[in-house]
Each structure stands twice: as C-alpha cells, then as structure tokens.
Amino acid sequence: MNENVIQVENLVKYYDGRCVLDGIDFAVPRGCIYGLLGRNGAGKTTIIRILLGLEPPTRGRTTLLEADSTSLPAKIRGRIGCVAEGHNLIQSYKVSRLIRLCKDLSLQWNDELFNRLIETFRLPADRRVRELSIGMRAQLNLSLAMAIDPELLILDDPTLGLDTVARRQFLELAIDIIQKQGRTILFCSHILSDVERIADRIGILAAGKLVVDCPLEQLKERVRKLRVIFPEAAPANLYLTEIVNQQIEGREMVITVANWNSQKQAILETFKPSSCTEIPMSLEDIFIECTRPSAEPLEVA
C-alpha cells in the first residue's frame, strides 16, 4: 500500500485565464497532519476542491487514497470525511433530515460518536440548517465528517466561526482521530497557533506556488531571522543564498534566511558585524515572511 494518502503532481489551475495554481507538488503520508497555509485567495480552497473532485484541474493530477480525484469511486469517497469552505450543507433542510440523509448514504457510521458530538456541541435537530449560526454549521459539518470514521479528513478552514472553546474542542477531536491507527488529516487554517499545535507538516501557498513544504519543526529550525548591526553602513549584498527577506536601515540589517548553517554563519562573519542577534520567529512570523510578494520559494531541505 502506498504510503502517500494524498498525492498532488504538477497541479495547474487557471480560472478565466488567470493562473491560480502554478505547478503544485506535494504528498501527504499516512498518519500525518498536514497544515496548508496561505493568505486569502492564495488557492488553498481550490486545491481542496480539486482534490475532492469538485473541480477538474487544468493540468496535472491529484490522487486520494490511490484513486484519481476526477473519478473517485464511491467506496473511496466513503472513507474520506470532508469539511468544505463555508460548510456547504443543504441549507433548506432540517438538521434531522440532513443527518438522516448522511446516515442512509454513508458506508459506515459511528452512531455513538456522532451522538456524543451532537450533545457536546448542543446542536438542535429540529431547526433548518440555514437558521443555525456559522459556528453551529461548522460543528454540524465536523460531526458529520467524523461520524463516518474516516481514514482521511480533509478540512477547509474547519474552525471558521467557532468560538474559542469550540476551537479547542475541534483540536482535541483532531488529535483523537490522529491517534487512531492509520488516519490522516489535511487542513487549512488561518489560526496559525492551532496549526502549530497539531500539524506535522506545513505547506505555505503563495503566488500560486508552494513556497514551503516541510515538517513543522524543521521549518522553525531552518528559517532564521537575524538582526545584524555593522560598524559602518550595512553591505547591500551579503552573498548569502536563500534569503527570504532583507531589510536594511543604515547600519542595521534584518535578514531572514532559510537553511541557516555554519557556512552561512561564516560568510556573515566575514563582513565583521558588530552584533548579531537572533529574533525568534513564531510560525506566524515565518508565514508572514514567506508570503510577502517578493519572497523567494524556500527549499527547506
């Protein structure tokens, strides 16, 4: 059995002549929680829609559980739980009818888990879906996705509209799922602290490309932000490779570098800086640096 639950090969997508995805390649191995990050409109939702077969790619190929996305057989779909952007449930139905529909059409259903979730979230069964708040729709969507005991969970902004407590509940649910054998989660989120807690691997989408795709801890170790002060004006060119960002102001230079190592340290030292301090970067900082328009794609080895 292939180790990669999700595989994206050279994915290209054009919308009305505009290039949204420009050659995306990544894979999500089994048992991994993959956090896909990107600014609004970066293309995260597009990738997920293509993965789920809701839209065809312009070029390239995506596979879920070894089946091509454009022709997912029902058996495979039954093993995938998904929460799409905006929680697309059938708005006009009553909650109970929607649940009944899902129950009837699903291949497996964990009633005990589902009822527990409904109780925890206190979702009303007799209201129409459109009368629920965004947060409750999110929770309903999550409950439906988890009730089928999915092997693969694909979540597009699953915490949209959730309050702090509900968000924490979601995180705990995700961890609960991943602790079971062989489960995998792919999710997008804007709440980077959440991503930092539970993700194994991170992908950052910017300008149609995946500028980062690596394990989370590697990302933090390899991307360094340094505040370097020179005795005289800071040199314009440090002859360092993989500079993500560089700002110079007089004698001071703030530089963000990928794959920092002793070699680069040595190169920096040839310029004889008077001080060099590391500025700790949170995932949020790294994300902001990597999604600046001028940023170069990081090859974080």
Partner: protein
C-alpha cells in the same frame, strides 16, 4: 439508492401531487367524454378540456425536469451529496427515476381507465389489440422527451426557458404524431431523442464543477 430517490420525491412533492391531480382530472374528462359520447354531438368541451390539460401537463413535466436540476444547482444539493459516497451517475439516476415515477403516476391511471372503458363500450374508431399499449408507450415516451428537455436545460437557466422549450417540442411532436400516428415510428424517433438527450445530460452533469 432508495434514500436518493426518496430525497428527490420529498423535495419535489408538489409535482407528484400535481401529477396525481391531473391524472384524476384527465380520467374524469375521459370518462365523461366516453359516457356522453354521441356521434352526432362530439364532446367538444371535453376534448378541448382534455387538450388544455395535456398542454399544462406537458409544460409541467418539462418544468419538473428543469426544476429538479435548477434546485440542485441553486441549493447546492449535489455539491453536498458529492461529499458522500454516491457517484454523480447515481444521483442523476435517482433523479430520472423520480421523474419517471411522476410520469407513471400521471399516465397509468389513464391507461387503466382506458382499458376499463374499452371493456364497457365499443369505441367509435376500430381499435386493434395492443393499440392501447402502443398509445400508452408513445405517450409515455413523449412525456419522457419533454422531461429530458427540462433536465438538459434546467441546470443552466431558470425554470421558464425549458418550459418554453417543452412547448416548442410539443409543437413539433404533435403534428408529427398527427401525421404519423402514435405508432412504432414515433416511438423510435422519441426513443432516440431521449437517449441522446439523457446522454448529454449525464455527460454535462458528470463533468460540471459543483
């Protein structure tokens, strides 16, 4: 599958009720026409009433097909169903099954009534055995053709355009029927049209973005 069909019926219950109602109305008209039949005084009112009902029904069938597709698109029903382990082909099949069910609800009582009446009375025009079946099948195919037009156009436009299309189709087919009669040739033409239309609908539905 059953769940899908049930869903379609529940969502479009009004059409099923209308089918039953119009079926009853047409049966009444037919019975009245036959009972009151007088070779000197053809029941013009009944016949014109019957034709009027038939026209409404044609529009209605077309409208049902269109409405099923249009509602799907506007309420994003298939978008949601796609997240469940059902293929688009199954969704479409359930949809068409529901449509056929509605048509049958409409036509079968009529057919039964016709057979019953034939047992009671001798018809003014000579009928050969099996003619009822032929007429029934041809009418069924005609209704199905209207339905297919509705299905095909309903995904992209509002409910009005396909109904006009159905009317247009009726205008084409009725003279054809009058000329050729409700015979095997008509059935072949209609069947080919239905097959082509369904294939196109299926192809569009399978590859559209949801």
């Amino acid at each position: 599958m059953f769940a899908l069909i049930k869903r379609e019926i529940q969502d479009h219950l009004v059409y099923f009720i209308a089918a039953a109602v119009f079926s009853a109305l047409l049966v009444l008209v037919l019975v009245e026409a036959v009972f009151k039949y007088d070779s000197r005084n053809p029941p013009v009112i009944s016949i014109s009433l019957g034709v009027a009902f038939a026209a409404i029904v044609t529009l209605g069938i077309c409208g049902m097909g269109a409405s099923q597709m249009y509602l799907d698109k506007s309420r994003r029903i298939s978008a949601f169903l796609s997240t469940l382990p059902v293929s688009r082909s199954r969704i479409l099949l359930a949809r068409i099954t529901a449509g056929i069910l509605a048509i049958l609800i409409l036509l079968v009582p009529l057919a039964i009534t016709a057979i019953f009446l034939l047992r009671l009375f001798t018809p003014p025009i000579p009928l050969y055995s099996g003619m009822v079946w032929e007429i029934f099948t041809a009418t069924f195919l005609l209704a199905l053709a209207c339905y297919c037009i509705g299905l095909q156009t309903g995904w992209n436009s509002s409910a009005i355009t396909p109904s006009l299309g159905g009317l247009g189709l009726t205008c084409i087919f009725v003279p054809l029927v009058v000329v050729k009669g409700l015979g095997p040739e008509i059935m072949v033409i209609l069947a080919s049209f239905i097959a082509a239309s369904l294939f196109r609908t299926w192809h569009n539905f399978s590859s559209t973005s949801l």
